[in-house]
Symmetry: D2
Subunit: 287 residues, 4 copies
């Protein structure tokens, strides 16, 4: 039987000896380090690390490992997390009638490419809208957009979020701006896929903005959701080439492909504990 | 002996029969069409075309072809140009101390990749700054930047432009903002390479802006210079991936590669008469 | 009401006057040219053209346009086709248990991105294998792979092809090598998506071959199917970056994304009459 | 004053405790780890690591650090290297008349982008061939290619290599096949830039091969030189899109850009000790 694998991610003020302390501790506890990445942000003096290890001791438990790590974390004033890699994250998907991201995430989830549990789907449109997708037994919540009762709708949304016990909320082309209050409550665990190459074309109808400006590349961006619209820490971006022949509608079509692959990569990185917040930016430990 | 080749580029209000009229006329004059591209801008109702042809008649001259084409052009109310492809364009290069674009353009010019005459180099720094580049017999104009005498300096610059009889002025990382007056005089024949993926990060120090924002891709953009800073019609763009590890200085280094290839492509397209202005946008007839 | 649109594609020995003859003829018949692309293969002396036009005459019919074009086609010894753009092509999809291309094509077909009729699905696996996909009323043919009765199976396949009245057969990860006899019968109307960057890694298990060789980019290729395995005319290719960390299984996963976008682009080009055969190569008139 | 930086690269049979032993040792000696990357090749059971550290002890010397590391290295049966990052590598450049890679490397060396000493240039053509490049005081060795006296020429080349005391030999479009004997002597310290996307189009005139095959992407590859032509461990690759319009000559032109950026990246990685040999493959620790 393969040994259980764990992942620790941490950030703390940089100073000599962190790597040695962490790796020495893990080894002393009978663990074998499989992957390790680190980053010093010399602008801010903050240190970031991600370590994947296997616990060779037969009696290793998550709680035990966490307890043993705590003194190290306190010594270096770390923000940290130590997880069992076999524990699947719960992800809640929020969608509007544009379902290309939803369809793509479902497909990748079914093939095992995205190793997670889908905690539910929240949609502005009734289930019938997605009749060509196999939503299976995934809890489906129909929350029609209603400009006049936005607060009430958000209260319902918050209820779904809490009841779903989700780790992450994904605005998979949700097309609703969340209130400051809700974004604050979801800080660090809500990501959005924006259909432009930020910081260009913030706000509504970015492909129409891009078409009007005559750009030669269009893009998409995932970012953590913050109170300031489309200004949260950027996680991943990608682009495709367009020409003068491409109408705004062509860009919307081309953009669907960009959006879904940017979101898919973001989810993979998230599920693999590769994304760390660094103030208004992110550290993404790709391989 | 190969027949002489010509290229006609035109734009006019769209209406049926333009293609047939133009190609019929060219054929009737004993020419053979080698390449043809067209574009209808359905937003504005304007039609764009580029045709490369060889004149099979032994006595064909540029003046004769132009004279023969004039009635067609008038009939359709065309903005047009008919050029001899063997006639080399004259290009004036404006540079600051960042000489990567200059070095690259010189190399491509020497290999024959950029088929043009270099009408001169205008630099804010003395010739000695570029001592590792072989500037050969290219006229070199040292115009030190001087904030207090900007108008006088621009007068000198205009004199160089006029005397050089250049077709195109290239701001190859010139780092000076031209006055409204000068940009107006140079309308349609002055291009700039901007070191960001416009419309993101306009203005100064774009790589520092990009670093601060934490984007995952950086880019460069060529555009026609207009009075509004970094808002002119975009010609070409490209990007490269960066990570949280890349400092602003790394981005500057990576950006050099992007800038030089975006500028090189732009010049190739320009020299091949592939770039047409379309209001605040461009039509670029790549193959 | 918008005028009916037609597209003519042709190839013939190159000689002066083809463009003028074709565009003059179309104009004389009261048509308006919307798009035109041409290419002279100077290696072989063959000329290729694609013209999209709208028929302004109220009584224009496909048959009438074809009849009127025939003398021109004969004069220049053309291989040609003149189609009504509103007539949807019939496409037959052949799949194995790897259904990522199938799922992607179905999604794009439903959104209208691929404007075609799906004439049927032929699968080596029973319908249950694809239970998460909405196959709707698309005719489904289960043809289990059987090494011992390959000829009999191909006879059944041919029957399905004929009865489906399909214009195009797509091996969407079919994983069966067709016989010389069948490839000959399907010449020019059968395309395959191969999971490597051809000509590297022909044949079986290309991602394993790529992993063994230690390449830093992997790719996928669509090509017309010919008797010689993986040697048919290439239509489209794309790649993604991999690293030493990527196992053969990672490459298979990454490759799924490449394969589906290469196939999708190929189908769009095909449905838009942009792909012309040129001996062992293709001419692809992208915009 | 900034502390001196060192880099250790190593590979050894994988077993638990390597990371902890190495990082613990470095910390115990008063060093601070700045970067660390590791890789387990699960196919071969071999472990690879690269660590950048600064020596905080005032009296730290390279020799001292190496001596202190030796017991660790022996304990784990490591192949290893420990270098002072401020010590510049000596690189010998071999070129033919195609000088685009040479020109590019020289430019990047002058800007400081490639932090190395150029130990010399060996050319098949006389110095006059490169008159537009500023070769400065770099030792220049003219070794005309001579099929009839290949052995004698290689003896001269070997003499230059030895006298130049170079760490790395770069075939920067050298266009000569080295003998088995010489490749054996240069094992692991000679790299070639091949002008194709290997393993496609090995051997001579790859762009002509690519044109004949009708591929839609062309590429370039750097690899360690081994006795088997174009079969050595691949270090880096890149591609660009081509179309049916691109002649073999166009591909040669486009290829120049690919070749020079692939070679530049390879050199940066090499100079930063990021490339480790792994049998017939490479481990490249990019950030």
């Amino acid at each position: 039987m393969a040994a259980a694998q764990f992942v620790v991610t941490l950030s703390c003020p940089d100073r000599p000896g962190i790597v040695a302390a962490v790796s020495g501790h893990l080894a002393a506890q009978g663990n074998n380090i499989l992957e390790a990445q680190q980053f010093d942000d010399t602008d801010t003096g903050r240190f970031f690390m991600r370590i994947v290890f296997e616990a060779l001791a037969a009696d290793a438990t998550l709680a035990g490992l966490q307890a043993a790590f705590t003194p190290i974390a306190e010594r270096f004033d770390m923000q940290w997390q130590l997880r069992d890699r076999s524990e699947r994250r719960r992800v809640l998907l929020l969608v509007s009638k544009f379902d290309h991201c939803l369809a793509d995430v479902l497909y990748r989830w079914r093939t095992g490419e995205l190793s997670m549990d889908i905690a539910g789907i929240v949609a502005n449109h009734p289930r019938e809208t997605y009749r060509h997708l196999d939503l299976d037994a995934i809890p489906f919540h129909y929350l029609p957009a209603d400009r006049n009762h936005k607060a009430a709708q958000e209260a319902l949304l918050w209820q779904v979020i809490e009841q779903s016990q989700c780790d992450l909320v994904v605005l998979a082309r949700y097309m609703q701006v969340l209130s400051d209050e809700l974004t604050t409550k979801l800080a660090g665990r809500c990501i959005n896929i924006h259909h432009s190459f930020l910081p260009g074309f913030k706000g509504a109808r970015p492909y129409h903005q891009a078409h009007r400006r005559g750009v030669k590349l269009i893009g998409a961006t995932t970012h953590f959701v913050t109170a300031e619209l489309d200004e949260g820490p950027i996680i991943e971006q990608d682009i495709e080439r367009v020409t003068h022949r491409d109408t705004a509608e062509d860009m919307i079509r081309i953009g669907r492909d960009i959006e879904r692959r940017v979101l898919a990569r973001t989810l993979r990185h998230y599920l693999d504990d590769r994304i760390l917040l660094n103030g208004s930016k992110t550290v993404v430990f790709t391989s």
